[in-house]
């Protein structure tokens, strides 16, 4: 139940990748071997473009979500006046406090290089404060980067509205859609974003490959320099097998997504009801309506997350936690703290993220095992006493 971390390869994706193993030609080569591979790569590009409602020329294949995010954010620092695609004099970045580390750490690095940045806060349910955003997106703002759906609590942002605010002030818009693509229907035209990042392995595709959508005509600065691949926007011989797998995963998503997400949401509701009716003193994190179908983030008062995770692991259940202990740092999840919950609840948080291959039997097994685990931990805990005692 850790599908937000990664998903298993869809059998049809595995099949398509296996069938392409012998396709060793370099898609940049002009001879027939190269062309044969290029046809497959371009087929994948078309599948992605169709799925995102984008032009094929706006789809850039990358090494994954983190690279896509880095590329989109770092283009604002280009100061090379001969670089015709780069943004002009604007530098400021506006992002949120609950972004993925691949955005937060990148923006922090850019700040150390003199780029002004603002981190918009969120409410108790993880929604970005649009009033604060509106106030921060001034005429100096180069880029607004807000994630579409949060990986920890599953809250979905109103990216269309955010893009509307940003564009009104002439700023570019990037959205980290790693958790959204393959789970939510989306159109880059309708959202009106300039950049969008996603990764194949979150939608039953292979690891190490992703996409950066860059609207045609939007300023762009190459992050990885070298050869002329991807029209000079991302150098390096293409990860052909990965791209073929990504294309197939996207094609499957376009067929199966709506039915799958409905089923996943029903499973999550079953899990939520099962936990709520059998375990007292819990807190459900995230937005009650605008959330990812499979993400359920629960805090168990007085029980520490790493202990819960490891007792569940011993029962064969895989989840993740926002506890500091699991991260090796001293602070619990920055996302949960940003929603204003106290540290004890943040340390006691467990994220269940269900996917297309989970079953009712999986959910019932968790609901059977979890109450005993929480009770055992709470009995040992200095931070829990049953109500009435």
């Amino acid at each position: 139940m850790d599908n937000n971390a990664t998903t298993p390869l869809h059998p049809e994706v595995a099949k398509e990748m296996a069938a392409s193993l012998e396709l060793y030609g370099n898609p940049s080569s002009m001879h027939s071997f190269g062309r044969e591979t290029r046809v497959k790569v371009e087929e994948a590009r078309e599948r992605v473009a169709d799925f995102l409602d984008a032009d094929t020329a706006s789809v850039i294949f990358t090494g994954g979500g983190s690279e896509s995010n880095n590329t989109a954010l770092k283009l604002v620092t280009c100061t090379d006046s001969t670089c015709v695609r780069c943004p002009a004099t604007r530098k400021k970045i506006v992002t949120s406090v609950i972004e993925h580390p691949s955005v937060l750490n990148t923006v922090q690095k850019l700040e150390s290089r003199g780029v002004p940045a603002k981190y918009i806060s969120v409410d108790a349910e993880g929604k970005v404060d649009l009033n604060q955003l509106e106030a921060e997106v001034t005429d100096e703002c180069a880029l607004v980067s807000i994630m579409m759906a949060n990986n920890e609590v599953g809250t979905i942002q109103d990216i269309k509205k955010i893009a509307e605010i940003a564009h009104r002030h002439g700023a570019l818009v990037h959205t980290d859609a790693v958790q959204a693509v393959g789970k939510l229907p989306l159109s880059v035209r309708d959202l009106d974003v300039d950049f969008l990042s996603f990764s194949a392995h979150k939608l039953y595709g292979p690891k190490g490959v992703g996409v950066l959508y860059a609207r045609e005509g939007a300023p762009f600065c190459t992050f990885i320099h070298g050869g002329h691949q991807e029209e000079g926007r991302r150098a390096g011989t293409l990860n052909t097998l990965g791209i073929i797998g990504l294309g197939k995963a996207v094609e499957i998503a376009s067929r199966e997504m709506s039915e799958r997400e409905l089923r996943v949401r029903n499973l999550k509701n079953r899990l939520k009801e099962g936990i709520s009716s059998s375990i007292p003193d819990i807190h459900i994190n995230g937005h009650p309506i605008d959330n990812l179908a499979g993400t359920l983030n629960v805090s168990f008062r007085g029980a520490e997350g790493e202990s819960i995770l490891l007792y569940m692991d011993l029962e064969g259940i895989a989840v993740s936690t926002g506890s500091a202990c699991a991260s090796g740092s001293l602070d619990p999840s920055h996302v949960l703290l940003a929603t204003g919950i106290d540290a004890v609840l943040a340390h006691g948080s467990i994220r269940f993220s269900l996917g297309g291959f989970n079953t009712e039997a999986d959910v019932d097994y968790v609901v059977e095992k979890l109450p005993g685990i929480i009770e055992k931990i709470r009995k040992m805990s200095t931070m829990y006493s049953k109500s009435g005692e």
Partner: protein, 198 residues
């Protein structure tokens, strides 16, 4: 599951079957009690002891924390029952980690608080029995050779508000010459922030 468990088998055993958990605080008539830990960092520990002729006759505990916090308190409680107070008073985190068959490095500083809780419980007992003279100043270890800064200096700096390595350097001058002690100082800094910061 066995082969890729992140801790040793001893840790797993004490995590799955914790010994001497304090189930009823009111029923246990403690002679000494110690609580340490910082809930914001995710660990808190309570140790209670009964003492008979300066020997620990019983020891029970409660822990809010991760698997190594639970296991380290459990194994400590087992080890100190029947132990002379003086010996128990000088148990170090490394002794506990060794008994557990080792712990991941980053876990030793943050989760092994049992020795400190036990020390606090023993000091509580000494105070209650009017033997404050047995309470020892902790032995200092020099961390920064260049500026002669000890672990106790670092602890004091944290108690006085040091929260970053830069603060520590300003307040103690540790690591301001050759810088070789940076890693160790930072580990201690984090450990003491863990124990004392709000």
């Amino acid at each position: 599951m066995e082969s890729n468990w992140m801790y040793s088998e001893v840790v797993k055993d004490h995590f799955v079957n914790p010994r001497n958990v304090l189930e009823d605080e009111n029923a246990f008539e403690a002679d000494g009690e110690g609580v340490v830990g910082n809930i914001k960092c995710g660990d808190q520990m309570l140790i209670v002891i009964k003492v008979n002729d300066d020997v620990i006759s019983d020891c029970k505990w409660k822990t809010y924390g991760c698997a190594s916090a639970i296991a380290s308190t459990s194994i400590l409680s087992e080890a100190v029952i029947g132990m002379d107070l003086k010996e128990a008073y000088h148990i170090k985190p490394k002794d506990i980690a060794d008994r557990l068959g080792g712990l991941p490095e980053h876990k030793i500083h943050c989760s092994v608080l049992g020795d400190k809780a036990l020390r606090a419980a023993i000091e509580d007992y000494y105070k209650k029995t009017g033997r404050d003279e047995l309470i020892e100043e902790q032995e200092a270890t020099v961390i920064c050779q260049c500026m002669n800064v000890t672990d106790i200096d670092i602890e004091t700096a944290v108690k006085n508000g040091a929260r970053s390595y830069a603060d520590l350097q300003n307040m103690t001058k540790a690591g301001t010459v050759c810088g070789q002690c940076k890693k160790e100082s930072e580990e201690l800094l984090h450990q003491y922030i863990h124990m004392y910061a709000d």
